[in-house]
Assembly symmetry: C2
Homo-oligomer: 154 residues x 2
């Protein structure tokens, strides 16, 4: 080896591990990145949905301001998961069924129903009236279930 080759060999040995781990951490396929994205969105949505459910069921004391904040968050976040359902992202570490791709129009419609119902809940929640909130919260829950039933693995 000449000096350049030696220097390169040392540099590669020294940095190789860092490069490999970097590639492993960063280089996700578009499908893997889309799965992470939509799972992130659903994690956030569930985080805001949970306390509302507990308040509606009376497991947690109703707090109108907290409820409205959570309803606003779900309404805003409801627009995001759709971005993560891209072609080829229905295998691997996902509970999403390939039927989403086959029934794209129906899936899109169900996702839009969720957005519409979530926006309506945010609106109703501003009023702070639990009696008015309950049925609309139910509709949001139904819009989740309608999609999960068809398109989410058990």
């Amino acid at each position: 080896m000449n000096l350049l080759q030696k220097t390169l060999a040392i540099a590669i040995a020294a940095t190789g591990f860092a490069v490999v781990t970097n590639v492993m951490a960063d280089e996700k396929s578009p499908a893997e990145a889309a799965i992470d994205y939509r799972q992130g969105a659903f994690t956030m949505i569930k985080h805001h949905f949970g306390p509302m459910g507990a308040m509606v069921k009376g497991e947690m004391e109703f707090n109108a301001a907290e409820f409205a904040k959570n309803a606003d968050a779900v309404a805003a976040l409801s627009k995001f998961p759709a971005n993560g359902f891209i072609a080829g992202s229905y295998e691997g570490e996902t509970e999403a069924k390939p039927e989403i791709e086959l029934n794209a129009d129906d899936f899109k419609k169900k996702m839009e129903t969720f957005q519409v119902e979530a926006a309506a809940l945010a609106e109703v929640a501003k009023g702070g009236d639990i009696a008015a909130i309950k049925p609309q919260f139910g509709k949001v829950g139904e819009s989740c279930k309608a999609c999960h039933k068809e398109y989410k693995k058990d």
Copy 2:
């Protein structure tokens, strides 16, 4: 064992595994749930930030509509991570440093700077002028780095 005990024993044997796995999947501590939440938010933000960065650097062809959509998404999502930085969530599976709790005011200020700069980018992006977009995109990037430098583990 009487009949009731026998029935219970069979029922427990049959459902035990399902119950255990369910508990494992669902019962996260508030700190763990908060970590998942903020990591979800950052995953989504990065997903929208990446293509903008590639366009600004000329690695991807500039598409004004796509850029504006991503800028809108980052502006909307910038409001969410703060919800996930709760007391006691700075150990375990997280890159967030405990200094966040010690310097809460500074952390909050840095998070707000990110929100302000992201909102300004969404506004500039509507114009579709890459020359105007570039410096504001830089400011958003700086607001990310300012926080990561102090409060994110390497």
